[in-house]
């Protein structure tokens, strides 16, 4: 099969339009019973020459607790790439309903520091459609390069689940992943997340998904209250790991129970050092101090 090459978008897609379009598509598919197909779109989408708005960068850094340096935080690049990924998931030939998809995991490779002064090309594609015990999952891969043809500086893989959607020909995994029992330890940090946490992150990331904005908008989509953005939580954990991670690192997170707002979240960060005492890895886990349920866990690893 020949590579069709990326579909180059003229402008950064508007997330709000993408959400509206996704809602319309969902309604149309429900009414018409359109056959969604069982394959992911082959085309990747690309936006070139993206310049970061320094005010948005500063607002993001202040909200997340990153030092407001000229280096783009890894989570900020995720937010930058998110509309490009969304535009792929919004294509007519995308086989899963976009709205209501659940972010299961995220893995980022920050290969070198990227300054806000560098124009970026961001490409996104959908790969690895596969079964899940409660639906169908896939990976959205986004890559950021500095100028055409240059090496990939940042790569993010976001794994999403379309809950309750089973496509013909895609089997559930036969092996159930058994979750180990979680026992809360002594936290190294405690976050107080107000009801406006979702709105605040929406303002700096552009992700105005209604499930994060208010209890009312979340209820409209079947949630009992609004929930914190997963990438907001993971980015705060990354910021908490601090400057020890250096300029190149891997950053992973697995999301479990959503954080309903307002909330208190307990966090534990464990530093793992190499034999020589150099930093090797920081593992983090966050949970609800009230219910003892794990919200998310992950690690930041030196590259």
């Amino acid at each position: 099969m020949s590579d069709p090459g990326p579909v180059v978008l003229g402008d950064m897609p508007s997330l709000s339009k993408l959400y509206v379009n996704a809602a319309a598509t969902a309604a149309r598919r429900r009414l018409l019973g359109t056959d969604l197909g069982t394959a992911l779109p082959e085309s990747s989408h690309e936006v070139r020459g993206i310049m970061v708005d320094v005010e948005k960068l500063t607002a993001y850094q202040h909200l997340i607790g990153e030092p407001a340096t000229d280096v783009l935080p890894a989570g900020f690049i995720h937010a930058l790439a998110f509309p490009v990924a969304m535009s792929v998931m919004n294509r007519d030939d995308f086989p899963l309903p976009l709205l209501g998809m659940i972010h299961l995991r995220n893995a980022v490779e920050q290969r070198r520091a990227i300054s806000f002064t560098e124009p970026l090309d961001i490409t996104a594609s959908a790969v690895n459609l596969r079964g899940h015990r409660s639906g169908t999952q896939l990976d959205m891969v986004a890559e950021a390069r500095s100028g055409k043809g240059d090496a990939v500086l940042w790569r993010g893989i976001s794994t999403y689940l379309a809950k309750g959607v089973f496509l013909p020909g895609i089997d559930k995994p036969s092996v159930h992943m058994v979750q180990a029992d979680f026992r809360p330890t002594n936290p190294t940090g405690l976050w107080q997340l107000g009801v406006d946490t979702g709105r605040a992150y929406a303002a700096v990331s552009g992700d105005f998904n209604p499930i994060h904005l208010s209890a009312l908008s979340a209820k409209a989509l079947g949630m009992r209250r609004s929930i914190a953005h997963g990438m907001y939580l993971a980015a705060r954990a990354l910021a908490d790991v601090g400057a020890v991670k250096g300029e190149a690192f891997n950053w992973d997170v697995s999301f479990e129970a959503p954080v309903f707002l307002p909330a208190r979240v307990a966090l534990d960060i464990t530093t793992v050092q190499a034999d020589g005492g150099a930093w090797e890895r920081s593992d983090y886990v966050a949970w609800s101090p009230k219910a003892g349920r794990k919200h998310f866990s992950g690690s930041v690893t030196s590259r």
Binding site: V54, T58, Q61, H62, A68, T69, F116, G242, A243, G246
Partner: protein, 450 residues
């Protein structure tokens, strides 16, 4: 003993700081370009800018994961939440988290005072390495609630019952809702710093032409220093700025002459202070790496200059005995006497340009016979500053003046200049720093090439 060959004029040899103690050297510095308020750093906090300046210093000298003896910095306009500003900046930096830090606040002398205090600790052998610094944001300035609202909020917090709370709330008046913004006025006089300086400028009969010429030279010298690459290893870009945004390389005496006076307008024809010969409100941060000679050698780092000595002074400005910004006029003679030096023994003078009038009033006071006799306790005038040695790479009129960051800017630049000059007439080249500050204070210092 003194290394100056002027032992005979040293009042008490035991007061000299050289000879008995080990040396504190300036390894280098790093600052971010200074930005006019409301410009490139509008959304950046003091902590952001201090961290950015610190990050650049750490990268330049390979201090990642290094436990520095102590870091001291400060800000003049400071949010109450920033009580541990310097320690927070250290925690956000790649320095070892085991690096202690403390805040200093001495108005515009903050930056120089951090250098002197830390250098003294190094000389005493208490620490081997230190980072001095300062930061200020006039853009992200703290705004306080009014005194009335503050009292009501505190009382409300103490009230236990609903009726008590309602009673407290009933004390609130509409005027209490207006916030208190910071200003540059002196608390005891109500006069702004510019109005104070306008009185001093007029008292010393400093002309408009002389002030404009000093401002012109500041811009010309700073622009030439940038063009010559002088700041290449003293500065890291931040938020898109690579040069101080206040710098006007194309300004001219003629252009400066067209500006209308902004301070001392009640003086009529004697009103000479304009926006061109006064420093604008500015945002920025600076840092300086200090060390013992042993530490610098062990880390294979340069030793640009030695911190010789420093002196603070204050004047009774409240009822006009002396001008608000004239304390360095008194500090310098004391410092020179202790070190057995005269103004002729210096190769560089770094006199902070709060206003062109401040620098020129200071020089006039030092050149005045009567003032020297009656106020400085000398036999005559202190002396004349060779203008060709004054602020040769520009100063605050061109670079801008983020209050607490100015000391670090000057120390790092002067250390580099001294190192480049090396020996002069068989002695280390020598520089004098003079910084005036609010509250009628001033801090001055001597650096020598290493």
């Amino acid at each position: 003993m003194s290394e100056t060959g002027r032992e005979e004029s040293v009042v008490q040899p035991t007061q000299g700081t050289q000879g008995q103690l080990r040396k504190a050297v300036v390894v280098g510095g790093n600052r971010i370009p200074f930005a006019r308020t409301g410009g490139a750093y509008t959304k950046s906090s003091n902590q952001d800018m201090l961290t950015a300046a610190l990050d650049g210093l750490i990268a330049r000298f390979g201090l990642q994961d290094e436990r520095i003896g102590e870091v001291a910095a400060g800000a003049v306009l400071k949010h109450s939440r920033d009580f541990n500003l310097t320690r927070e900046a250290v925690l956000g930096s790649p320095l070892a988290a085991e690096t202690p830090a403390y805040d200093v606040q001495q108005a515009c002398a903050t930056g120089l005072e951090t250098v002197l205090g830390l250098a003294n600790k190094i000389k005493l052998g208490q620490i081997d390495s230190a980072i001095a610094g300062g930061v200020d944001s006039a853009s992200d300035a703290p705004i306080a609630v009014s005194e009335g609202l503050r009292e009501v909020l505190l009382d409300l917090n103490r009230a236990k019952t609903l009726p008590q709370r309602l009673k407290v709330l009933s004390k609130l008046r509409p005027k209490d809702l207006a916030p208190d913004a910071p200003n540059t006025g002196e608390p005891r006089t109500g006069l702004s710093m510019g109005e104070h300086q306008a009185l001093t400028t007029a008292q010393w009969k400093v002309t408009r032409e002389a002030q404009d010429e000093l401002a012109y030279n500041s811009h010309r010298n700073l622009a030439a220093a940038y063009d010559a690459g002088f700041f290449d290893d003293l500065l890291t870009p931040y938020r898109g700025l690579t040069r101080d945004s206040n710098l006007r390389p194309d300004t001219s005496i003629e252009k400066l002459a067209t500006l209308k006076p902004v301070f001392g307008k009640n003086l009529g024809s004697e009103a000479t202070m304009t926006a061109g010969n006064s420093t604008p409100l500015t945002d920025g941060a600076s840092t300086v790496l200090l060390a013992s000679e042993e530490w610098a050698d062990a880390h294979d780092l340069p030793k640009l200059a030695t911190v010789i000595d420093g002196e603070a002074a204050a004047v009774d400005f409240v009822h006009g005995k002396d001008g608000l910004l004239m304390a360095p006029v008194f500090a310098v003679p004391r410092l020179l006497a202790r070190n057995g030096l005269t103004l002729d023994d210096f190769d560089f003078f770094e006199i902070h340009e709060a206003f062109a009038g401040t620098v020129l009033s200071t020089l006039a006071a030092w050149e005045n016979e009567e003032f020297g006799r009656t106020r400085l306790g000398l036999e005559g005038a202190l002396g004349v500053v060779d203008r060709s040695k004054l602020n040769v790479n520009g100063s605050s009129l061109a670079a801008g003046h983020p209050f607490a960051a100015t000391g670090g800017r000057i120390v790092a630049s002067l250390a580099k200049m001294l190192h480049a000059r090396g020996q002069v007439d068989g002695r280390p080249s020598r520089g004098l720093i003079s910084i005036c500050a609010a509250g009628g204070q001033g801090v001055v210092a001597i650096l020598e090439s290493h």
